[in-house]
Amino acid sequence: MARAVSTRTKIGWTIAAWIVALLIFFPILYTIITSFKTEPEAISGFSLIPSGTLESYWEVQSRYNYFQPFMNSVIISVGSTVLALLVGIPAAWSMAFSPGRFTKDILMWMLSTKMMPAVAVLVPIYLLFRDWGLLDSRIGLTVMLMLINLPIVVWMLYTYFREIPGEILEAARMDGATLWGEIVYVLTPMAVPGIASTLLLNIILAWNESFWTIRLTTVNAAPLTAFITSFSSPQGLFWAKLSAASTLAIAPILIMGWFSQRQLVRGLTFGAVK
């Protein structure tokens, strides 16, 4: 900005912004702090300084076998995203580079499938999964999440691919590049960042999906969303363990999210805000 800002003004804004930001972040911070407390400590009043015990983490693993739902989350979210990319990349590619008369209509129609409320198809999906033996299976859930995120994947990739200028292909051709050379040396390097952002955002969305993951699993295929939900039954106040499980469940996705803030805007607004 061209305007000179006095340091005093800047300090004022800084203080205000930090207070608000810390208030918003507080529930997460407090969860992390509580995860390092003992159970009696966790319910003995407000305190920002934990005793630093790792007991809760150890118990979450030894008593509830935390590793299993964690791996289920990894398999289901990564699996569904990779599947969606495999199906979505060719589609987005062709729509961006050789658009036809109906490309726009197809894109809008894909977006419209995203508007269908999940709960509206709960009954048929549940019955089909039951009849096909897919309830509580990782494969069923992976396919389910792939279908849910496919429209976002195609849309995001399309908005990225569309920004690759067509002239660059002509230039490459003039320089004598073959079709294969075009794809490997020109297009792929330009497409990789878009594909990577799409991958990241969709892993986040699949990791946090909390309708199908809870309803279609019980034990074996239950990912972290379903696992954490099981802590809601009022069997006592296990706040330290809840906090430890929660911290482990959100930490990887929080870090990925910080890296993908900008892509998030683009992906979730279908390119309407950039």
Partner: protein, 290 residues
């Protein structure tokens, strides 16, 4: 460039996505529609009969239905109000010169990445619990009676939790839009003597109008389907106080085993979502032309 060959190839590349989404969209929805006309209870699966509009009439006369529609609206409107107003304020704040802007942004955006069951359980237990929660501690320190949030204001509590999850999204999008505002325009307005308020009303707000529309529409689609937050906090209660339409359908289907009734509810949910969808598609479609 678009020879016949490449066009055929393009269609071929598009086919898997289109076919998958077509099946995904048509088959389950057609089944829901069909089930909604049946008397079909999972406890008595041998006795399925055609019931015409019975399920719709039954759903329509159920007092829980109107309550659930009302609760759905309260959640959507309440969360929208908080996130839009709060989001605009936060975006304006974060647009100011700040030391450590990157970290502040990261802190503000974080709640969006917290999975719904975690967000709801953390708020319900560690913040809102009337005996040991942080809010109760604050109340004790101030010498007032702590509030039993989920007993006294169950729906409001849910709105607060969901608003916390979606405030970052609104903020991020509004901030993105705010930062695309031409600084020269801002400076020109300032030099012409426009104060903060008039600059906000006549320059900033119109510039953000499109982003605000997008936030409203996208959030509405997600807010119409709020489920996990209710499941882990109030389970729809007390009574039907926090049962929204998705939760009512879930109750009817998987707890009441009433396939026909739940399907009729599902069709109503589709109609509701479509009303919003039409507006969103227009907003996004406009962008495609540019």
């Amino acid at each position: 460039m678009a020879t016949r060959q490449t066009r055929t190839l393009a269609r071929f590349m598009m086919a898997p996505s289109v076919i998958l989404l077509l099946i995904w969209m048509v088959v389950p929805l057609a089944m829901t529609l069909w089930f909604s006309f049946l008397n079909y209870n999972l406890l008595n699966p041998a006795n399925v009969s055609f019931g015409g509009l019975f399920n719709y009439r039954y759903f329509y006369t159920d007092p829980a239905f109107f309550q659930s529609i009302w609760n759905t609206l309260v959640i959507v409107v309440g969360v929208l109000l908080i996130t839009i107003i709060g989001g605009i304020a936060l975006a304006l704040l974060l647009d100011q010169p700040i030391f450590g802007q990157g970290i502040v942004r990261i802190l503000v955006i974080s709640p969006f990445f917290v999975m719904p069951p975690v967000a709801a359980l953390v708020w319900k237990n560690m913040l809102m619990n009337p005996s040991y929660g942080v809010f109760a501690d604050i109340a004790h320190a101030l010498g007032v009676q702590p509030v039993d949030w989920f007993a006294s204001f169950p729906l409001f509590s849910i709105v607060i939790i969901v608003a916390w999850q979606w405030l970052p999204f609104a903020t991020l999008i509004l901030l993105t839009s705010l930062q695309s505002l031409d600084t020269e325009q801002k400076e020109a307005a300032e030099m012409d003597g426009a104060g903060f308020v008039s600059r906000f009303i006549y320059l900033t707000l119109p510039h953000m109008a499109r982003a605000i529309t997008v936030v409203i529409l996208i959030q509405t689609i997600f807010l119409l389907g709020i489920y996990a937050e209710i499941l882990v906090t109030t389970n729809g209660g007390p009574g039907y106080a926090t049962t929204n339409l998705p939760f009512l359908i879930y109750r009817t289907a998987l707890l009441g085993y009433d396939i026909g009734g739940a399907s009729a509810g599902g069709i109503i949910a589709v109609v509701l979502a479509n009303i919003v969808a039409i507006f969103l598609m227009r907003a996004v479609g406009k962008n495609l032309d540019r």
